[in-house]
Symmetry: C3
């Protein structure tokens, strides 16, 4: 499996170990993943930001796997966080599931439309060629 | 015209008849549609969520057609809804124009920047090959 | 360098000189740029909407250049504006850096998650072939 994404980090921009400024997806099929929230397979939201963040990422990993790709081929995440929560707490909750992978990212302080959802995560990913 | 999008729905995730968790766009040109709101050809916003939603979708269909594609090639919608409106009412308003097509989707409770706009819908679509 | 994006503007939609309704990216690699804010190379946010908007666009231009592309190959911008600011003031601030280029665009009135950030701009761009 070739990991063919190219991170883009101009030296004159502030560097952040948590993300890359841009990511190039090579020519080929692209997976668009709709917003994933912290609900389990029964559709019920878990309690609290940490549990919801981990579950949303697990859901995202499941969609990636079903599409024949994985977290190493994610180009960009868009993360919607309820304004009542601490972004740093949300970021801390990603480690166990997402590790320290860097992608391009946008983080917005806004509530997902579903009541009770504290976080929603969507993604764009390349489909690797074998 | 080949309809070549591939929906992605892992069996372990909660299934929802209204959307798919992810959609794969095949290699080829991709159309990015900017946020469409409920304004008619004169630029004036229609009254109410139902009318704005239908018009925004009609505007989206017009952009798709102009690009040589159609609703069946839409991979993902991002729907921004004014926090004052009921998402279920917005969803109900989509049926007449959009039918029961499934795409990947993110729905966020946030006002479009244009005053009076209750809904804004953007899309990513494949361009079918003939 | 070929500029191969195709703007899409159905005649029956309201025409706006500031943006295009859709943009077709040709088959090939695509750059996804994460949200750029108004921080300089030292990571410190500049003061005020005008300065932050110009800096966010300069940061975006730097990412485009590092990826081997440029503003003429941007298909879509998503612009997040703090609800406290005037969108027209933000738009006016783009001229000096962005000129009058038209792309597909979505503008949302929502605060970036980073405290103090009044504007965040993300982009999708084609990588031109030479």
């Amino acid at each position: 499996m070739t990991s063919s994404l190219t991170p883009v980090d101009p030296p004159q921009l502030h560097q952040n170990p948590a993300f890359t400024q841009g990511m190039i997806v090579p020519a080929g099929p692209i997976l668009f993943v709709g917003g994933q929230n912290g609900a389990g397979g029964d559709g019920v939201l878990l309690d609290g930001l940490g549990a919801q963040t981990e579950q949303a990422l697990r859901n995202l990993l499941a969609v990636l796997a079903e599409a024949g790709t994985d977290a190493d081929h994610v180009a960009k995440l868009t993360i919607y966080l309820d304004p009542s929560v601490d972004p740093a707490e949300g970021y801390a909750a990603t480690g166990a599931v997402w590790g320290n992978r860097r992608t391009a990212v946008t983080v917005i302080a806004v509530a997902p439309a579903r009541p009770g959802a504290l976080v929603e995560i969507e993604a764009v990913a390349a489909i690797p060629t074998r």
